[in-house]
């Protein structure tokens, strides 16, 4: 499975993940404190400059995830144009800038570094949630996504072999049941190998 990290290295790939996340949290909080459209325009331009510094291919790839915002942009724009209220511009600018900056951090940070930060953040709760278990659960989930995707495909094929209709939701009980059965088998295998501490 592909992650959302941009494969060609930019200068920002080299920065420590924890630092990038802390900076993102700070900047996002600041964005929500800004009200003036002029300030938010400056922030948006700053974010655009940051993204452009990654090169042309990086900038183009950064635009794609922003398209998920278009329904919100359209609704807010229509609403505020109708009310003749200029506050809509600030809302739209803030929304696009916040999402673009968050995507910038995701695209320049490797999955393993991000998971390391999650584990670091969980450290104070080590008594409640042992880090080794979190790591194992993350690994199992990542491993079983392609396995279960294949199984969903098999179930759909088995359905089609017997029915002219499309499978729709009817394969879902089997898929859910398979997840439960797999969980039981994997748990048994783990226990046979010494269990989880």
């Amino acid at each position: 499975m592909l992650t959302l990290t941009y494969l060609n290295k930019t200068w920002a790939h080299g920065l420590p993940a924890g630092g990038k996340l802390a900076a993102l949290a700070l900047v996002t909080a600041l964005l929500f404190a800004l009200r003036d459209p002029a300030h938010l325009t400056l922030a948006a331009l700053g974010a655009a400059g940051l993204i452009a510094s990654g090169g042309r291919g990086f900038a183009r790839a950064s635009q794609r995830p922003l398209w998920m915002l278009w329904p919100f942009v359209a609704i807010v724009a229509a609403w505020h144009v109708w009310l003749r209220d200029p506050a809509g511009a600030a809302i739209i600018l803030r929304m696009i800038t916040a999402v673009a900056l968050a995507n910038f951090v995701t695209m320049t940070t490797r999955l393993t570094d991000m998971i390391a930060v999650i584990e670091w953040l969980l450290r104070p709760f080590a008594r409640l949630i042992p880090p080794a278990r979190v790591a194992l659960a993350i690994a199992l989930t990542i491993r079983f996504i392609p396995v279960m995707l294949l199984r969903a495909g098999d179930l759909a094929l088995a359905w089609r072999a017997r029915s002219p209709a499309r499978p729709r939701w009817r394969i879902l009980p089997a898929l859910t049941l398979a997840a439960l059965d797999d969980a039981a088998r994997v748990a048994e295998a783990l226990r046979a190998r010494g269990g989880v501490d």
Binding site: M1, L2, T3, L4, T5, L24, T28, P65, L66, M68, L69, F72, I75, V76, W79, I91, M95, V99, A100, L101, A102, V105, T106, M107, T109, R110, L111, M114, I118, R133, A137, I138, L140, T141, I142, F144, I145, M148, L149, R166, P167, R168, W169, L172, P173, L175, T176, L177, A179, L180, D181, D182, A183, A184, V186, A187, L190, R191, G195, V196
Partner: protein, 180 residues
Amino acid sequence: MEKSLTQIALFAALIAILGLIPKIDLVSGVPITAQSLGVMLCGTVLGAKRGALAVVLFLALVAAGLPLLSGGRGGLGVFAAPSVGYLIGFPIAAFVAGWVVQTWRAGVGASAFAGAAIGGVVVLNFIGVIGMSVMLGKTLFEAALLAAPFLVGDSIKAVLAALITQSIAKMRPDALLSRG
């Protein structure tokens, strides 16, 4: 111990799979994704605590940069978008769904429907609407209007969650942890 860990991990994977299944395949004519159905199932099948943990694990992987949300979305950007309330609501929805099934000892089908409807439709949309209202600077009522068209699909998913939970209760009576 091992078993609850593997169940949490595999149901986190199940939520991801349900987001990858093409929209139109679920019920004819109504374009809905099955992702929130996965959230409901986590609660109604695994119970409140494990169900919520499975959803948290799923969200952690999304935040870490895996494109597991429906439509191949993921990364930190989705947590900065106006729909963030729904993501925050996911684990709470699973918890409430599981809690209802554990607490209301009616037939599995009825209590799973109640759990999925209260947790996965009412609570999830409530938190989602609060999120949109904050992020878009709208009143709660205006934000609720944005969520209204999706309630039909959500209700269908609550029915499906109940049917799936019921058929699991029939096939593996001891596997239904929400009734353990």
